[in-house]
Subunit: 513 residues, 2 copies
């Protein structure tokens, strides 16, 4: 059962010896793609009612503002444009689309080592967003985010086990030209990590230059199309129930370029979506179903992630709020709807309203992250580093987020019930003539690595040990870890010939490595 054959006499030395032998990946306590879904915020009847209301909304209200190309795609598929210009979706069209949509998507990594399989209730966590500030924790300052900040974020993501993908979390405010800014963002992320990356192109003409760069990085268009290691987040709707014309055109361009798309509906509950959790979910589901019809009309079976991202609002002030229990429920409810449709889905969790990585940030980031995992959300976006209701990104918080998500993943993995784990034999042996404790049992020693997630920076010392270590500060530890990561050459850096070719073609702002 255990090839580490520890001495039953056990004790601390034996435990240390046991953990020295590193585990193969499949025995690690947590990993990308663990299966969640034990938490069901909705009953089956409630799920059916939300689905029914979304179908009703699509059939009777529909969506306004489709671009001409979208009108052609959608009406060609069977949607109906009314005299009011709105596109309405007959139930049968939505149901047929649901039956034929792509149910299992692979989000490729550049090196093949961190591919993500989105299906069932497999859970992955990563960054996302469009923060405009970088949070400087030592100075307690918010300053404009830069392409270097983005590159550093990608490099940090690359080394954190529990950050499974790197969707661009902040924008490059030091590059005013939009096209240039966006291909520099592709460069900054891709040269920082080999994990799957995500972008969110603002306008259709931003897509082609970025795709040209992606082809170069992949080693040609065929190689890119075989393993697209980047997806695009499309805010294809302006809630409530309006298509975002330009973003729809971006989406069409991405689909044609072979890029998986995230159908992102980001309503704000109480402002651009109903204030009730159920209503916000209904609207987000309706909007994403419209998007799914759209994608499949452009290209049947094109990989699309069902991106119901309703956000909360502080109704007292009308300001966005992301750290509440209502937010965690919005996300968990959406994840349950994804499971109902058996579609790859994603939602936002793990962000904080707090300006700094303080106790509030900890509780807010954990609340929605763990509930997203338990509810089986395939893609948990904005899961680390995000502050100030999505306005600020913090490298130290990203590093600490790896610890948060590690514990959230442990919860997602759940409780293993087997004859061995029920431990009846072990209880009998320990209690009746045995040592009266479990510290040195074979099961304790053999499972200490595979069952438990140990924090990287979280502190478990006693008050006495803590004082002897001069009372280490959590944030200072995260800053030290950040500096250590950024002091080494990124493993994901391009080889010099490729880098030179890219720099010959594009105005790259990051300095050469």
């Amino acid at each position: 059962m255990n090839d580490q054959t520890p001495s039953r006499a056990g004790g601390r030395a034996a435990r240390r010896a046991a953990r020295a032998a590193a585990l193969p990946d499949h025995l690690r306590p947590v990993r990308p793609g663990l299966t969640g879904g034990r938490y069901n915020p909705l009953t089956e009847a409630e799920v059916a009612r939300i689905h029914g209301a979304a179908l009703d909304a699509l059939e009777t209200i529909g969506l306004a503002d489709a671009p001409p190309s979208g009108v052609a795609h959608l009406t060609g598929a069977g949607a109906i444009q009314g005299d009011d210009g709105r596109i309405r979706f007959p139930r049968a069209l939505v149901e047929d689309t649901l039956a034929r949509a792509n149910r299992a998507i692979t989000l490729h990594s550049r090196d093949g080592k961190n591919d993500l399989t989105l299906s069932g209730s497999r859970v992955h966590y990563g960054t996302a967003g469009a923060a405009v500030h970088l949070v400087d924790v030592s100075g307690r300052e918010y300053r404009e985010s830069t392409v270097q900040d983005l590159h550093d974020a990608a490099r940090i993501c690359d080394v954190l086990d529990n950050i499974h993908f790197c969707q661009r979390p902040m924008v490059c405010r030091d590059i005013p030209d939009m096209v240039e800014s966006e291909y520099n963002a592709v460069y900054a992320c891709t040269s920082g990590t080999t994990k799957h990356i995500g972008m969110s192109f603002s306008e259709p003409h931003c897509v082609a230059p970025a795709v040209e760069m992606l082809h170069m990085i992949a080693g040609g268009e065929d190689a890119w199309r075989a393993r697209p290691f980047m997806s695009n987040s499309n805010c294809f709707v302006v809630p409530p129930m309006k298509f975002a014309s330009e973003s729809c055109q971006v989406m069409e361009a991405c689909i044609k370029a072979g890029m998986p798309v995230l159908l992102l509906s980001a309503g704000m509950s109480g402002a651009t979506a109903p204030s009730t959790i159920a209503g916000a979910i209904v609207q987000a589901v309706a909007e994403c179903l419209a998007g799914l019809v759209y994608v499949n009309a452009v290209k049947p079976g094109a990989p699309a992630i069902f991106g119901t991202w309703p956000f909360g609002l502080d109704l007292r002030t009308g300001a966005m709020s992301i750290g509440s229990g209502e937010q965690a429920l919005l996300t968990a409810g959406c994840a349950q709807m994804h499971r109902f449709y058996d579609l790859p889905g994603g939602a936002a969790a793990g962000a904080s309203d707090s300006k700094l990585p303080d106790m509030q940030a900890g509780w807010e980031q954990m609340c929605s992250n763990v509930m997203a995992g338990l509810s089986g959300c395939n893609m948990v976006y904005e899961a680390a580093g995000m502050h100030a209701s999505l306005l600020g990104f913090c490298h130290e918080s990203l590093i600490l987020g790896d610890d948060i998500i590690g514990q959230a993943l442990r919860c997602t993995r759940g409780i293993e019930v087997t004859d061995e784990t029920l431990a009846l034999d072990q209880i009998a042996q320990v209690c009746m003539g045995g040592p009266g404790h479990y510290l040195g049992t074979e099961q304790t020693l053999s499972r200490m690595q595979s069952d438990c997630v140990y924090p990287a920076l979280g502190d478990r010392t006693s008050p006495k040990e803590w004082a002897e270590q001069d009372k280490p500060d959590l944030i200072a530890k995260a800053t030290a870890r950040k500096e250590q990561i950024l002091a080494t050459r990124p493993a994901a850096a391009f080889d010099p010939a490729l880098d030179a070719a890219i720099r010959a073609t594009f105005a790259i702002h990051l300095p050469e490595a």
Copy 2:
């Protein structure tokens, strides 16, 4: 539908007006006793296997070290003492006890305003523990906890909406005599809050003086027995599978005094309980079932809380660890077993390994607190203020814990699905000829108080507002709130005549108010 009749034109002024009208208790967004249980870490088959293994453990392994009175009670009820001295429990005895046990307990408050009804999956949060340190956040120091610290904790609990009971969280290290220390703890808690309080008497002779004081406070023995506002936490077992003889005698004394008891099994997973989550739950369930038989043998139907409190261990060091995902699963799994038995149950959650109220404390306290709520745990103990793996208690953290638990309760309350909340009519009105947003709809305005939990100290300002407010520090805000609470006379203070009578009978260490 809404007697606040806001203007549909809406906007910030209307929202402010709407929230100025305070809601009656039953419409508050969260309150004690919300129903959880939407999260099921175990399948039904797994629950049955754990139950079966616990019955097997009781029948074949049994418990050692029952005191003579316990042997008499248990064998009188049908348990069997073996030649090895262990008491074993035939399945039928356990099943009969389960069938007849008290399924719905009221934990009374002193003034009747905060009674807790433990049944089904109604969730309550409160303090508990036996911390030996008070955490001084300004000095980053751990110092010995005092009776004044305990009294202050009770006073803070009294004013925090989401702290539903005040079980003694720390010991009075400034009172060396045990009897005196324990009745002073009763005084410190009871004079600090009218909410239900909890103690944990160390030795049988500590009970009588405390009960004498409780009779005085209640206004006589009959009044006390009619509404016992204190319960006792009995560590009646020394895991694995041994009765704690003295604590069993304490328990018998408490039962006879009409005090609800918490049957507390606090195994440490990997040391005094199996290292596997399932195994630790099996053992805790078996031990508490033995306790339930014991209680019902002493007094059929006596109010007892099924206190499966398995704790985690850092297997690398053998030190206790309370802030892990494994801990959250232990607690949630136990809560599901309580629901299976339909018995009032409690477990520990919301404590941190961190020494200070920092980001780690936030994520650890939220993780297990929200999972305890979602799993429908009747009594979530140690839910606020607890640090350093239960060694330290922190008043500021207790205050911030009220915010954490508020959000956890919001998650526990879940998603309301009705025609109104599905909001199809509202979506149609807003989108087709309406304003295109929901800020001023009747539903948004009328539900803004009843649907949303607003943090007391958590910060939701924008970076700009935050800077304008001089970047307030979360912990400094908590300290200011603490000082504000403690600067006023406690509402729970005894009237002068009663206080004088108590002080004439007992050596009370707290100064007169």
